[in-house]
Amino acid sequence: MTVTRASEPSGNPPVDDGDPVHTLSEGVNQAMDIAMAEDPEVFLLGEDIEDPIGGVMKGSKGLSTKYGRQRVRNTPIAEQAIVGTAIGASLVGMRPVAEVMLMDFFAVAMDQVANHAAKLRYMSGGRTHVPITIRTSVGGGRQFGAQHSQSLEAWMMHIPGLKVAVPSTPRDAKGLLYSCIFDDDPCIFMETMSLLFTRGPVPAGRFALPLGVAEVKRAGDDVTVVTWGWQVPEALAAAETLAGEGISVEVLDLRTLVPLDREAILASVARTTRAVVVHAATQFAGPGAEIAALISHELFGQLSAPVERLGAVYSPIPYATELETLAFPERTRIADTIRTLA
């Protein structure tokens, strides 16, 4: 994996392939472990996050044993209470990390997220603020069906006051989550299930990545793929295939959607003059629409081709594998789309 430092003004440290190898879930776990060790005001709450379960996706494994059940708290099945409780504690300076088991379940808690967490700083004229992090697993591609497979980052992006992080590697997961926990505003942290147990180098010890800084996961000259989360490895695989066909693809991993690294997007596409925006969220009125509209507007007249978007088809996510694989973008369809541009 080539990494340029071009898009890392804030001194985003380079990947050192000598770093110990961990899963994305372990990266998440390390960030919380270090944050809890550093700051007694950090605590965790959510469903089944205590040991022996340690979270149904294992993110908090070992932490209740290490820090106790005061700071790692199982909750009832009550997402409004989970998010609201985090908000309340954060208003007086604590740094709660709440877990909403699956992103689809945000639907029961959007009032706390959108009408309260996102707005309290503004509604109080800055007298209060909400330094919470809400971790959530994102399904898709696992036959979980229509209610357990949604990527809803577009809902979050559209509400002023929410930051949104979507790591695609164990390293990014650790660095971004650490920064979310210590950020002074509400952060939605999306953990893509299909990446949770993929492995990669993770810097040991305290490690932070700035929010709002995209990373070029693969450098290229002909076409820019703007993507995040689940679709990053898919895009990298497509780029690899196309390299064999003489098409040089740059894969830009946004890593956070709010703040949005506008400069990195425009710099890359200004160079390649071709862009494809790829995401697991529904394409229609999805997150890619903002990015495609941004590129088309800012680089008007400089593009060699229309900005393409590749997201989930317009339908609830079907259960049968044979249909679900058609519902989400994946390497071959990404490659096909890129070929139409190059």
Binding site: E47, D48, N74, P76, V108, G145, E322
Partner: protein, 340 residues
């Protein structure tokens, strides 16, 4: 905990339960049990794949309730609802096919095990969102009230679902409007991996639900005659316009949260006691010993059921996955409304 089912041996509790009904209930419980056994065997052997929410231990609840329901009564259940679906009469082959994601399934393979529904048999909604089915059930029940029919609606949900807002809103509204709805809380003692006492200080769910101004009782959900009587009373009241009832049915989840999931957080002695007292075998013994039903009769039913289940699995396996052009069908009635 007091062991569910333990009280079943008292014959006086079964006054209104005819032999025919008792045997029909046995058939239903046996169908549920043998379908689960067959699915687990298939999963273990890699014969097919699915996320399976085991119902072992909870068979008696829907089997006893189902005896009082007509085909046009409505039911809503959850991901852990295969037993409810079977008791309400979903065609077994279509159900298994759906769980396997096949085109002959109730949803053409597009819904999956968490979304079984078949209006023909009155199974209206299976939801994967905890608590999500309860407000919908209020609407189903309201439709019967507005239309002046004597239909009732049964909504099944777990003990853990009592903590979520939708459940509360539905209970208050159902009581206010006195709709013909039975809230069947299948208290299997765990919400995913969390035990009852770890998510609420409520001493009794039935007491709590009385607070909405509706009838509410706690019943041994593993005791068929007791379940049968409690269901008769609640459903009878609803049909007669007497409004909703909350039934807390005490049972026990004889497994992890899903097939293959850990049970390490469950008290082993408690688990062993519940397993020793598991409702299907328990009820079978009771039918023979207390009700004098011939073992051969029950064995005959078991043989028939095994064959039915095998046939359902075979037809599911033989069925094709949904064709690609199904992807954007059933989004709207009218495909041209789908944005390109």
């Amino acid at each position: 905990m007091e062991t569910p089912g333990a009280g079943m041996m008292t014959p006086e509790t079964s006054a209104n339960l005819s032999d025919d009904a008792a045997v029909r209930i046995f058939r239903t419980m046996t169908t549920i049990r043998s379908t689960e056994d067959r699915i687990m065997r298939g999963l273990g052997a890699g014969e097919f794949r699915m996320t399976y929410y085991n119902v072992r231990g909870q068979e008696a609840i829907p089997a006893a309730i189902g005896e009082h329901l007509k085909r046009d009564d409505y039911m809503v259940t959850t991901y852990r609802g295969m037993h409810d679906c079977i008791a309400k009469g979903i065609p077994l082959d279509e159900m298994v096919a759906e769980m396997c994601g096949k085109v002959t399934g109730t949803s053409k393979g597009k819904g999956g095990p968490m979304h079984l529904s078949d209006p023909q048999s009155g199974l209206m909604v299976t939801t994967g969102v905890v608590g999500g089915g309860l407000p919908i059930a209020v609407g189903l029940a309201l439709s019967s009230q507005l239309r002046g029919t004597d239909q009732v609606t049964v909504v099944n949900f777990g003990d853990g679902a009592t903590s979520i807002g939708a459940t509360h809103e539905a209970a208050n509204l159902a009581a206010l409007w006195q709709v013909p709805l039975i809230f069947v809380c299948q208290n299997n003692r765990y919400g995913e991996h969390t035990a009852f006492a770890d998510y609420t200080r409520t001493p009794s769910l039935a007491e709590r639900f009385k607070g909405y101004g509706m009838a509410a009782t706690t019943v041994d959900g593993n005791n068929v005659p007791e379940m049968f009587e409690a269901a008769a009373e609640a459903i009878g009241r609803a049909r007669a316009g007497g409004g909703p009832t909350f039934l807390e049915c005490l049972t026990y989840r004889l497994g992890g949260h899903t097939f293959g999931a850990t049970t390490e957080y469950m008290d082993p002695d408690e688990f062993a006691a519940a397993e020793a007292d598991e409702p299907v075998g328990n009820y079978r013994r009771w039918l023979i010993e207390t009700r004098g039903i011939a073992d051969a009769t029950l064995a005959g039913i078991e043989a028939e059921v095994t064959a039915e289940v095998e046939a359902a699995v075979a037809s599911a396996k033989a069925s094709a996955p949904p064709p690609p052009d199904e992807l954007q069908i059933d989004v709207f009635a009218d495909p041209v409304s789908v944005p390109r």
